[in-house]
C-alpha cells in the first residue's frame, strides 16, 4: 500500500532537509497521508494507545530511576521515599505501576482483536510475529520491574519464576545460579534485574519500529478482513484516524487516571508493602494480574507426562502457551480472515476468550479450593481450560479451515461500508 510519496516540501528548509535526510517525508507518508481502510472500528485504536503507554512507562521510569536505589538494604525504603517524600513522586510512581497494568490491558485487547479479525494471516505473518516478540519482552520487563520495590511479593515472585528454570534437566541448577548470581535471590539478582528492566523498554521501542514498518508494507487489516483493492476503500490516516485514535486515547487515559489518582493500589498486592524476607513466604503468592492465566497453566500440570516430570511439564506448558502464538498464522488453515464471516469459528473464539479469563481466575485462587462451592477444584478446572486453550490452536483452528462453510463476503470494503449506494459524498482524499 505504500505507493509513491505524496510529500511536498513547502519551505526552503524542508527542501534542504528532504534532500539530505527525508525524515519529514517518512513521517508524512506514514502518519499523515497513509492510506487506511475506511471501516476501522475502535478495536483498531489500541495500537496508538499502546504507543502512548510505552512512552508513559519510559518517561516515568527514567524519572523513578533518578530516585531509586537498587540495593537489597535500600530498595524498599527508596520506593517508599519516592511515594512519600519526593515531590510528585506519589504521582509518578503510581503512573508507572498502574501504567504497566493498563499497558497489558491494552495489549491483550490488541492481541484478541488480531485473533478475531485474522490479522495474523498472510501477508501479515511477520507483523504478527513481531507483535508476539513485543509481548514477550513486555512480560519480561514487567516481571523484572515488579522485583525492584523489593517487597515480599517482589522477592517471592522472583524466587518462584527463577526456580522454574531449575526444572530444566541437567543445566537447570547451573542456569538458576547464573540468573541469581549467587545461591539464592539476592543483591546480585536485584542489580541485574534493574539493569535489564532499564534496558528492555528501549529494545521494545526498537521492535515497535519494526512492527510498524511491517504494518506499513501490507497496510492495515480491517473488520471485513478484505484486502484493499481501490483507493475508494481507504481514507488518509490524517485527519480520520488521528482523530479517532486520539479520542480513544483520551477515554482510555481517563480510566487510567481514575486508578492513578483514586485507586493507586487496587491492582497491586498488600504483601508488597512488607519488605522482602528470605525466611518467610507469604501465605499466598500470586503474580500480577496480567500473568495469572499463564500461572494457572503452570500449576495445572500436576502429573508426569512420560519422562517429563510434572514440574518441567508445567514450565513447558506455560512457555508453550505463549510460543504457540508464533505459529498461529500456519495453524489457522482458513483462507477467510475475519471471523465476521466464519459462523463456527467465531463461537470457538468467544469460548477461547472466556477460557482465558477463567484461567486468570484460576491463577488467582488456591488450586485446592473449590470453584463456587461446587465439587470441582480450581486445579481441575484449570486443567480443563488448559486443554481447551491448546486444542483451540492445535485442533479447532486447523480443522475448521477445512470443515467450516464461510458466509458470503461483501465485494469490497467500500461496498461493505456504503452498501451498493453510489458514494456521492466522497470525503476529500
Amino acid at each position: 500500500m505504500s505507493g509513491p510519496s505524496t510529500y511536498e516540501p513547502q519551505t526552503g528548509i524542508e527542501r534542504w532537509l528532504d534532500s539530505r535526510l527525508p525524515i519529514a517525508r517518512l513521517m508524512w507518508d506514514s502518519f499523515v497521508d497513509f492510506p487506511t481502510p475506511r471501516n476501522l472500528n475502535y478495536w483498531w485504536t489500541f495500537g496508538g494507545i499502546l504507543a502512548i503507554f510505552l512512552m508513559i512507562q519510559i518517561i516515568t521510569g527514567v524519572v523513578l530511576a533518578m530516585h531509586y536505589t537498587a540495593d537489597v538494604n535500600m530498595a524498599f525504603d527508596s520506593v517508599q521515599r519516592i511515594r512519600r517524600d519526593v515531590p510528585f513522586g506519589w504521582l509518578i510512581q503510581s503512573m508507572h505501576a498502574n501504567g504497566a497494568s493498563f499497558f497489558f490491558l491494552a495489549v491483550y485487547i490488541h492481541i484478541f482483536r488480531g485473533m478475531y479479525y485474522g490479522s495474523y494471516k498472510a501477508p501479515r505473518e511477520v507483523l504478527w510475529i513481531l507483535g508476539v516478540v513485543i509481548y514477550l519482552l513486555m512480560m519480561a520487563t514487567g516481571f523484572l520491574g515488579y522485583v525492584l520495590p523489593w517487597g515480599q511479593m517482589s522477592y517471592w515472585g522472583a524466587m518462584v519464576i527463577t526456580n522454574l528454570f531449575g526444572a530444566l534437566p541437567v543445566v537447570g541448577e547451573g542456569i538458576r545460579e547464573w540468573l541469581w548470581g549467587g545461591f539464592s535471590v539476592g543483591n546480585a539478582t536485584l542489580t541485574r534485574f534493574y539493569a535489564l528492566h532499564f534496558l528492555l523498554p528501549f529494545v521494545i521501542a526498537g521492535v515497535v519500529i519494526l512492527h510498524i514498518w511491517a504494518l506499513h508494507v501490507p497496510g492495515n487489516n480491517n473488520p471485513t478482513g478484505l484486502t484493499v483493492k481501490t483507493k475508494k476503500d481507504t481514507l488518509p490516516f490524517h485527519p480520520y484516524y488521528t482523530v479517532k485514535d486520539g479520542f480513544a486515547i483520551v477515554v482510555f487515559l481517563m480510566i487510567y487516571a481514575a486508578f492513578v489518582f483514586y485507586m493507586p493500589d487496587a491492582l497491586g498486592h498488600a504483601d508488597n508493602y512488607i519488605e522482602a524476607n528470605p525466611l518467610v513466604t507469604p501465605s499466598h503468592i500470586v503474580p500480577e494480574w496480567y500473568y495469572l492465566p499463564f500461572y494457572a497453566i503452570l500449576r495445572a500440570i500436576t502429573f508426569d507426562i512420560g519422562p517429563i516430570s510434572a514440574q518441567l511439564g508445567g514450565v513447558l506448558a506455560m512457555f508453550g502457551a505463549i510460543a504457540i502464538l508464533f505459529v498461529l498464522p500456519w495453524l489457522d488453515t482458513s483462507p477467510v480472515r475475519s471471523m465476521r464471516y466464519r459462523p463456527v469459528a467465531r463461537w470457538f473464539f468467544l469460548i477461547f476468550m472466556i477460557v482465558c479469563l477463567c484461567l486468570g481466575w484460576c491463577g488467582a485462587n488456591n488450586p485446592d479450593d473449590h470453584v463456587l462451592g461446587t465439587p470441582l477444584k480450581f486445579v481441575n478446572f484449570a486443567q480443563i481450560l488448559t486443554l481447551y486453550y491448546f486444542a483451540y490452536f492445535l485442533v479447532i483452528l486447523p480443522v475448521l479451515g477445512f470443515t467450516e462453510r464461510p458466509k458470503e463476503r461483501p465485494a469490497s470494503i467500500e461496498a461493505a461500508v456504503l452498501g451498493n449506494k453510489p458514494a456521492t459524498a466522497q470525503p476529500a482524499e
Binding site: V160, W180, G182, F183, S184, A188, P278
Partner: protein, 187 residues
C-alpha cells in the same frame, strides 16, 4: 576479480578464510566473559560456611538460620517424629534418594541418611518445587507443608505428596570441634 575464477586458491582466499575463522573464534571467546560475569562472584562463593550453636534448640523446637542467602532448618525432633520417620517404607517414597551432600549421590533416603544426629535434622528450607519456605509442624505427614502449591514433607524432610520433585537437601555439615559437638558448621 574474474582472473581468480576457477583458479587455485590465492593468497586473498587464504586471508579471507583466516580472517573469517579468527573473527568467529574470537567472537565466541569474547562473548564468554559477558556470560560468565553473571555467575556467583568470588566474594559470594567465599561466604560459603557458617557456625551454629545447636544447644539452645529444645526437643520439638526448630530454628531457621540464614545460609547462602536462604533458610536452613535446624529441628530437634521428638521421639514420635523420629519413630514415624523410621517406620516409612523407602521404596514407596516419591524420591528415594537421601539428597545429603555429606553422602554419596545414590544413598537411599533412610532416616539415618537424612539426619545429623538421631534427633537433630538439619536441611535447607526452600521447597524443591519452586523455592518457597515450607511451614513447620504442618501437612499430612507431621513434617513440613509448603503452602505455595501444596507439597507435604515428612518428619525427615522427605517429599511425600505434592508437586515438589525432591527431598529437602541436606547441606554439607560437620561438628566444629570434638570438644564442643553442639556447634555445627554448615557449608
Amino acid at each position: 576479480m574474474t582472473d581468480q575464477h576457477g583458479q587455485e586458491p590465492t593468497r586473498r582466499d587464504f586471508i579471507y578464510i583466516a580472517a573469517g575463522g579468527a573473527a568467529a573464534v574470537g567472537g565466541a571467546l569474547t562473548l564468554w566473559p559477558f556470560i560468565d560475569q553473571m555467575n556467583p562472584a568470588a566474594d559470594t562463593l567465599a561466604l560459603a560456611s557458617i557456625r551454629v550453636d545447636t544447644s539452645p534448640v529444645e526437643t520439638g523446637q526448630q530454628i531457621t538460620v540464614m545460609w547462602r542467602g536462604g533458610p536452613v532448618f535446624i529441628r530437634r525432633r521428638t521421639q514420635t517424629e523420629i519413630e514415624e520417620s523410621l517406620a516409612v517404607d523407602i521404596s514407596a517414597l516419591p524420591d528415594g534418594l537421601a539428597r545429603n551432600e555429606n553422602l554419596s549421590d545414590d544413598a537411599p533416603a533412610t532416616d539415618e541418611n537424612r539426619r545429623f544426629t538421631e534427633d537433630l535434622l538439619i536441611m535447607k528450607g526452600n521447597c524443591t518445587h519452586l523455592g518457597c519456605v515450607p511451614l513447620g509442624e504442618a501437612g499430612d505427614y507431621d513434617g513440613w507443608y509448603c503452602p505455595c502449591h501444596g507439597s507435604h514433607y515428612d518428619t525427615a524432610g522427605r517429599i511425600r505428596r505434592g508437586p515438589a520433585p525432591e527431598n529437602l537437601p541436606v547441606p554439607p555439615l560437620r561438628v566444629a570441634d570434638e570438644a564442643n559437638p553442639a556447634i555445627v558448621v554448615i557449608g
